[in-house]
C-alpha cells in the first residue's frame, strides 16, 4: 500500500481522488479478515473524502493528510456514534456529540476516517481479546495475537488496510501491538497529543498515539496531531542501553539489535523497575476501577466478565495505597530524570517476545508461563510510569515474526527520537516488513 505521504501527495496533485481512495479503503476494511474492524464508517468517509476533493477542486489547500484514510480505536469519540470502548453494552449508550480532538485535527488536515477498530474492553489488556467483538488476529500470522489494547489499530495498518490508525497507550497499548505487528507506534510525552474526547482508562497514564507502517508517515501524523512539526535533532543523540530487568525477559534478537545499534553505549540500570511496574499496575487498577464504579454498580453484567472482575478489584483498592503509589511515582520520575540526564535516547525491548499464539495466550516471564493479556507490557509499563515519550520501532526481520524496540526520549527531546529512528532505518536495523498477503490496494 502507498504511504500516507504518497497518498496525500497524489490526492493533492489530483492524480487520484480522495473519494476513490476512500471507496477502495472501505471495501478493503469490509473484507477485513483479522477481526480488527468493528464499524466501517462508509457514509462519513465518503462525505469527508468528497469535502477534500471539493477543496482541491476549488484550488484550496486540502491539508497535509489530504485524502489519507485512517481508522481509530473504539475509544475515540466519533460524532453521532456511541463510543463503545470495546464494550458492546455501550452501543446502547448516547452517541458522541462531537469528534475527539485528535479526530478533529486529522479531519482538518484532510484525513478521512474510515473505521473504528477493536481493542481490549476498556483498554484493559495487552492482547485485544474481546468478549464482544472477538480476538484480533495478527496479520503476520492470523493464529497469533495482535497485542493490545490497541490491537485493532495495529492490525489494520499491518494488514495494509489503512496507512495510519490511532490508538491509545496507557501502559503500553500502542507499543506492545506495534511490536507484535511490526509497526512504528508512538507514545507521546504527557500533554503532547490531545486526549480530549477519548474514553479514559487510567487518567494518570492515558495518552493517544498513532500507528504507521512508514516512519515519514508517523512523523507527519505526529506533526498534525500536535499542531507543529517535530524537527529531527541535528546532532547524533547520546544513547544508553537499558540493563537489568530490561535484558532479562527479551528475545535474543532484540538484545542483539540493541547491542548492534549502540555497541559502546553504557548499560543503564534503572532502579526499582519491578516496583515502578507494580505501582503503575496499582494506579491503573485504582483509576480504572473508580472510573467504572457507577457503571459497574448499575450494570455489572453488561461488562466482559474478565474485565469486570479486574475493574471491580481495582475499585476496591484502598485509597491510601493509591496515594502511596502516586507519591512513589513522583519521586521515581525525578530520580529517573536525574539518572538519564546525560542520554538523549534509551534503548529497550517493547513486547518481550514475538506474538503469542491465540490458542495459547501465555508468555514466559522468568521462565514461568504467565497470561499474555496482563504481562506483554512488562517492559512498557515501567517506562509509562516515567511519563517519557517513546517511539516504538520495528526490527527489520523479513520472513520472521515481528519484534520491536522502544526508543525512549527525554521530555522535550522528541527530535532525538526521530533522528535516531531515521538513522536506524537507513542502517537497515529497523523497518516495516509487510506480511505476505497484506492488502496492496489498487493505489500501487
Amino acid at each position: 500500500m502507498r504511504t500516507a505521504t504518497a497518498i496525500a501527495a497524489a490526492v493533492r496533485s489530483g492524480d487520484i481522488s480522495a473519494a476513490s481512495v476512500a471507496a477502495r479503503t472501505l471495501d478493503a476494511l469490509r473484507a477485513d479478515r483479522h477481526v480488527a474492524v468493528t464499524r466501517v464508517l462508509a457514509e462519513r468517509a465518503m462525505a469527508e473524502a468528497s469535502a477534500v476533493d471539493a477543496r482541491i477542486a476549488r484550488g484550496e489547500d486540502a491539508g497535509p493528510l489530504a485524502g489519507v484514510p485512517y481508522a481509530v480505536k473504539d475509544l475515540f469519540d466519533v460524532e453521532g456514534l456511541p463510543t463503545t470502548a470495546g464494550s458492546a453494552a455501550r452501543t446502547k449508550g448516547p452517541a458522541a456529540a462531537a469528534d475527539a480532538e485528535a479526530v478533529r485535527r486529522l479531519q482538518a488536515a484532510g484525513a478521512v476516517l474510515c473505521a473504528t477498530v477493536n481493542m481490549d474492553a476498556f483498554a484493559y489488556g495487552f492482547a485485544t481479546v474481546n468478549a464482544d467483538y472477538g480476538t484480533t488476529r495478527n496479520p503476520h500470522d492470523p493464529a497469533r495475537l495482535a497485542g493490545g489494547s490497541s490491537g485493532g489499530s495495529a492490525a489494520v495498518v499491518a494488514a495494509g488496510l489503512v496507512p495510519l490508525a490511532l490508538g491509545s497507550d496507557t501502559n503500553g497499548s500502542v507499543r506492545v501491538p506495534a511490536s507484535l505487528c511490526g509497526l512504528y507506534g508512538l507514545r507521546p510525552a504527557r500533554g503532547d497529543l490531545p486526549v480530549a474526547g477519548t474514553f479514559p482508562f487510567a487518567e494518570s497514564f492515558d495518552e493517544i498515539g498513532p500507528f504507521a507502517a512508514d516512519l515519514g508517515d508517523l512523523a507527519l501524523v505526529w506533526e498534525v496531531l500536535r499542531g507543529g512539526a517535530v524537527q529531527p535533532r541535528a546532532v547524533a543523540p547520546r544513547i544508553a542501553r537499558l540493563g537489568g530487568r530490561f535484558r532479562e525477559n527479551a528475545d535474543t534478537a532484540q538484545l542483539a539489535a540493541i547491542d548492534a545499534i549502540a555497541p559502546d553505549a553504557p548499560l543503564l540500570v534503572l532502579p526499582d523497575v519491578p516496583r515502578a511496574r507494580s505501582a503503575a499496575f496499582v494506579i491503573t487498577a485504582y483509576e480504572g476501577g473508580h472510573l467504572h464504579r457507577e457503571a459497574l454498580k448499575a450494570d455489572p453484567f453488561g461488562y466482559d466478565p474478565a474485565v469486570r472482575d479486574r475493574l471491580i478489584a481495582g475499585a476496591l483498592l484502598p485509597d491510601a495505597l493509591y496515594e502511596r503509589a502516586l507519591a512513589f511515582r513522583a519521586d521515581y520520575v525525578a530520580r529517573i530524570e536525574a539518572l538519564r540526564a546525560d542520554y538523549d535516547v534509551l534503548l529497550a525491548p517493547s513486547a518481550p517476545c514475538v506474538a503469542p499464539l491465540i490458542a495459547d495466550p501465555t508468555i514466559l516471564i522468568d521462565g514461568e508461563p504467565v497470561p499474555a493479556r496482563a504481562n506483554l507490557g512488562i517492559h512498557t509499563q515501567s517506562i509509562t510510569f516515567t511519563g517519557l515519550p517513546v517511539l516504538a520501532v520495528p526490527l527489520k526481520r523479513p520472513g520472521a515474526l515481528p519484534l520491536g524496540l522502544q526508543l525512549i526520549g527525554k521530555r522535550g527531546g522528541k527530535g532525538a527520537l526521530l533522528r535516531l529512528a531515521h538513522e536506524l532505518e537507513e542502517r537497515g536495523v529497523t523497518g516495516v516488513t509487510m506480511p505476505a498477503g497484506a492488502y496492496a490496494g489498487e493505489m500501487t
Binding site: 526499582d272 519491578p274 516496583r275 511496574r277 507494580s278 505501582a279 499496575f281 496499582v282 487498577a285 464504579r293 459497574l296 454498580k297 455489572p300 453484567f301 466478565p305 474478565a306 469486570r308 472482575d309 479486574r310 471491580i312 478489584a313 481495582g314 475499585a315 476496591l316 483498592l317 484502598p318 491510601a320 495505597l321 502511596r324 503509589a325 512513589f328 496482563a374
Partner: protein
C-alpha cells in the same frame, strides 16, 4: 506495642523490704557502725559508677537542642526547688520537720537518667536529646544539688552537720568518686557500658545498703514513733501536687516554646523526674546518719508515684503514635471475602455473587503488586 501500667516497681519492693528489715531488725552499735562504713563505701562506689557511666560525648552530641536542655534544667533546678520550698513550708506545720526537709531535698535532686531515656523511647520521643538532657542534669547535679542543699537546707541549721564536715563529705563521697569515674571513663567506659546488666545489681544493692543503714539509724532514733499513716498520706499528697504542677507547667511551656512532639516528650520526662539512685547516696553524704532515713522517705514515695504517672503518660503518647502510624501505614487490598465486601460497602459498590471469585483472584494479583509497589518485595 502494648504498654500496660506497671505494677509496683520491684526495686521499690526491695526498698520497702529494707525499710521493714531495718524496722524489725535494725543494725545497732558496732554492727551499725560497720553498716555505716559499708554504706559510705557504697556511696563512693555509686558515684564512681555514675561518673563512669555519664557520657560527655552524649551530652556534647545532643547539646544542639540547648533551648530544650535549658528548659529541662529550669524545671529540675528552678521550678522543682520552688515547689519543694513551698511544700516543705506547708507540710512542715503538720508533719515531722525532717520529712518536710525530705520533700525539699527530693525537689533539689537531678533528673533520672535511665528511666527518663526509657520513657522517652517508649513514648516515641527524641531519645538522643533525652540522653543529653538527663546526663547534663546529672552532671550538673553533682555540684548543683549539694549547693542547693547548702543554700536551702543547711543554712537553716537543721541538718545536724557542721559546714566543714559537710563540704568534706561532699568532696570525698560525691565529687571525687564521680570525677574519678568520669575521668577514667576513657579506660573503663566501654566495659561499663557493655556490662550494664552486670552493674545494675551493684548499683541497686549499694542503694539498698544505704537505705538499710539509714533506716537502722532512723529506727533506733524512733522514726516509727514520729511517722504514721497520716504523715505518709501527707507526703503522698504533697508529692502528687508537686508532680501535677510540674507536668501541667511542662505542657504549657512546651506549647509556648513551640516544641515538636518528640522534644516535648523529652522535656516532660527529663523535667519531671527525680533520681532515687542519686538521691539516696547524696542524702547519705549530705545528711547526718540519723536523719537520712527520714529525708529519703519522701523520695521513695515520689519515686514510685513518678514511675506510675510517667508510665501512664508514656503509654498514652505511644498509643497516639501507634494510632498515627496505623493511619499512616498503607493497607493492602482486601485479603478475604469479608474484607472485600466491607470495602465494597464503604465505596457503595455491590459485588455480585458470580463476580466474587474473579474479583478475589484479581485482588490477590493486586496484592502482589501492592507489596512490590510499597517496596516490600521484588528486586
Amino acid at each position: 506495642m502494648r504498654i500496660t501500667i506497671p505494677k509496683v516497681d520491684p526495686f521499690l519492693l526491695w526498698l520497702v523490704g529494707c525499710v521493714v528489715a531495718a524496722s524489725v531488725l535494725p543494725a545497732r552499735g558496732a554492727v551499725l557502725t560497720a553498716f555505716d562504713t559499708a554504706a559510705d563505701a557504697a556511696i563512693v562506689l555509686l558515684f564512681f559508677l555514675h561518673g563512669a557511666k555519664l557520657s560527655r560525648e552524649a551530652v556534647l552530641a545532643g547539646i544542639g537542642h540547648w533551648r530544650l536542655h535549658l528548659m529541662a534544667l529550669a524545671f529540675t533546678y528552678i521550678l522543682f526547688p520552688a515547689l519543694g520550698l513551698a511544700a516543705a513550708a506547708l507540710t512542715g506545720r503538720v508533719i515531722d520537720p525532717s520529712l518536710a526537709v525530705g520533700l525539699l531535698f527530693l525537689a533539689l535532686l537531678p533528673s533520672t537518667v535511665q528511666s527518663s531515656i526509657a520513657f522517652t523511647a517508649m513514648a516515641g520521643g527524641n531519645v538522643a536529646a533525652a540522653v543529653c538532657s538527663a546526663s547534663l542534669s546529672n552532671l550538673l547535679g553533682i555540684v548543683l544539688t549539694p549547693l542547693l542543699v547548702a543554700v536551702f537546707i543547711h543554712s537553716g541549721g537543721n541538718a545536724g552537720m557542721d559546714e566543714w564536715a559537710s563540704v568534706q563529705k561532699i568532696g570525698t563521697q560525691l565529687l571525687l568518686p564521680f570525677l574519678a569515674g568520669h575521668l577514667l571513663r576513657p579506660l573503663i567506659g566501654s566495659w561499663i557500658d557493655g556490662h550494664k546488666k552486670l552493674l545494675q545489681p551493684v548499683d541497686r544493692s549499694s542503694v539498698l545498703l544505704v537505705v538499710y543503714s539509714a533506716f537502722s539509724a532512723a529506727v533506733v532514733n524512733g522514726v516509727w514513733q514520729r511517722v504514721g499513716p497520716f504523715d505518709l498520706g501527707v507526703l503522698l499528697l504533697a508529692s502528687a501536687v508537686m508532680l501535677a504542677i510540674v507536668i501541667a507547667v511542662n505542657g504549657v511551656a512546651a506549647r509556648a516554646a513551640g516544641l515538636k512532639r518528640e522534644d516535648a516528650i523529652v522535656l516532660l520526662f527529663c523535667g519531671s523526674k527525680k533520681s532515687l539512685v542519686s538521691g539516696v547516696p547524696m542524702a547519705g553524704a549530705l545528711f547526718a546518719p540519723a536523719q537520712v532515713g527520714m529525708v529519703i522517705l519522701p523520695l521513695m514515695i515520689f519515686h514510685q508515684l513518678q514511675l506510675f504517672v510517667c508510665a501512664w503518660l508514656a503509654g498514652r503518647w505511644r498509643r497516639e503514635l501507634d494510632a498515627a502510624a496505623v493511619a499512616d501505614s498503607v493497607p493492602l487490598p482486601p485479603q478475604d471475602e469479608a474484607a472485600m465486601l466491607a470495602r465494597a460497602g464503604e465505596i457503595d459498590l455491590p459485588v455480585p455473587e458470580e463476580c466474587r471469585p474473579g474479583v478475589q483472584a484479581n485482588l490477590a494479583l493486586l496484592t502482589q503488586h501492592a507489596r512490590i509497589a510499597l517496596g516490600e518485595g521484588g528486586a
